[in-house]
């Protein structure tokens, strides 16, 4: 029980690491997912191909493999960054493929006539998407995007294996200090719960404010 109080700063550092990974990677995933979803519904065939390739490659690569590819691969091309940045890149890009598909599913729920009406009024593709289709798609993608970001928070644990400070990795330090492994993990689990339940609460709020009225 006193594993938490004795090692609060270790836990706090780990928690903060997980929180940072989650927030930064979420932002990256949302932005990239948004761009890729736009590509996938664009009238330009080349953009659609880029979007499809992005999703296919990233969604079908095991996340651990992707971490190896980014952490070991990019330095070979002369790109040397802190491990935490590499981890955010791997996690964000991986999750963006899932965000993209959630957004695209949402776009497909908006009746075709909405886009046609916008285009018939002289709106460009960007205006049609941004002013008419996405605001309506947004309502139906809140739940799946929430789930995807919760998955991201938990997936951030993989970064611990690549010597990035995060919550799960604290068990090694505490294990070496001889603390009971069960309690060590209980408090780690509580830490993850705080992050994932916070994401849940945020998305419940979004859904109440913006969700589809039934």
């Amino acid at each position: 029980m006193n594993v938490l109080t004795d090692n609060f700063s270790t836990y706090a550092q780990g928690f903060l690491g997980t929180l940072q990974l989650t927030v930064y990677a979420s932002v990256l995933a949302l932005v990239l997912g948004f761009v890729m979803a736009s590509f996938r519904v664009a009238p330009v065939a080349a953009l659609r191909a880029v979007g499809a390739a992005w999703v296919t490659v990233l969604r079908n690569t095991p996340l651990t493999l992707l971490f190896f590819a980014v952490l070991l691969g990019l330095p070979r091309f002369g790109l040397v960054l802190p491990f935490q940045v590499f981890a955010v890149l791997a996690l964000g890009c991986y999750t963006s493929a899932f965000i993209c598909e959630a957004l695209r599913a949402g776009i497909n729920t908006v009746p075709k006539g909405q886009g046609e009406a916008a285009r018939s009024l002289g709106m460009t593709f960007g205006q049609t998407l941004g002013l008419v289709v996405l605001p309506q798609a947004f309502r139906s993608v809140i739940p799946p995007v929430g789930s995807t970001l919760i998955a991201l928070a938990k997936n951030s644990a993989i970064a611990g294996a690549f010597s990035v400070t995060e919550l799960l990795g604290t068990y090694k330090t505490l294990g070496e200090l001889g603390y009971d492994v069960v309690w060590t993990f209980v408090w780690i689990a509580v830490g993850y719960l705080v992050v994932t339940l916070a994401i849940s609460a945020l998305f419940n709020l979004l859904e109440r404010t913006w969700g589809v009225a039934r």
Binding site: Q114, A118, S120
Partner: protein
Amino acid sequence: MAVDPLIELRDVNKYYGELHVLRDINLTVGTGEVVVVIGPSGSGKSTLCRTINRLEDIHSGTVAFDGRPLPAEGRALARLRAEVGMVFQSFNLFAHRTVLQNVSLAQVKVRRRGRGEADRRSRELLDRVGLLAHADKYPVQLSGGQQQRVAIARALAMEPKALLFDEPTSALDPEMINEVLEVMRQLARDGMTMVVVTHEMGFARASAHRVVFMADGGIVEDRAPEEFFTSPRSERAKDFLSKILKH
């Protein structure tokens, strides 16, 4: 009538896979002309209407508006579409915007009018279609007939040179059809150029300058309404009219 051609379709062909939906369509609509397109379902009349602002691509032939062929998808086409209003069977009002915002949105974003000016103009138009009191409601709170009148106001807000109507009353309950037709009759009297795909023969007789009868993707007859309804030339038209005018 067709002194000043506004819409010109020349040898237009379109296929859906094997299906030949538009066959060698030649059609000219002059400025100020009201052309009603009728025909059995599946005859290609909606597709024809949608090729005029290129919501449907064509495989051969040319469509020209105001003397210029329609450009490819992009900004130039968007600019041209702003000149051609369209009213849909299913209204297609923006579900997440109020009635007023529906009418103002494209004025602000496409015509670059100020919000205040756009809203003022929108209120005028809503007043004209009898819906000013509903300006702050959402589309779902209106009846079908009211939604369609908002859709007409939204199209008019762009000050289009022509209006396309794709079966504007087909999704309406019978008692609401007339309120929409009344707005359309008024537009016809005001000299708006209109292409109207419809099953409302009364509107065709009263307001159209020409009736275009389509069957199997081709134009079979293109004549003044009185002539067409009293003495159709083709067997297809006789057959069609006998079916719809009997009940």
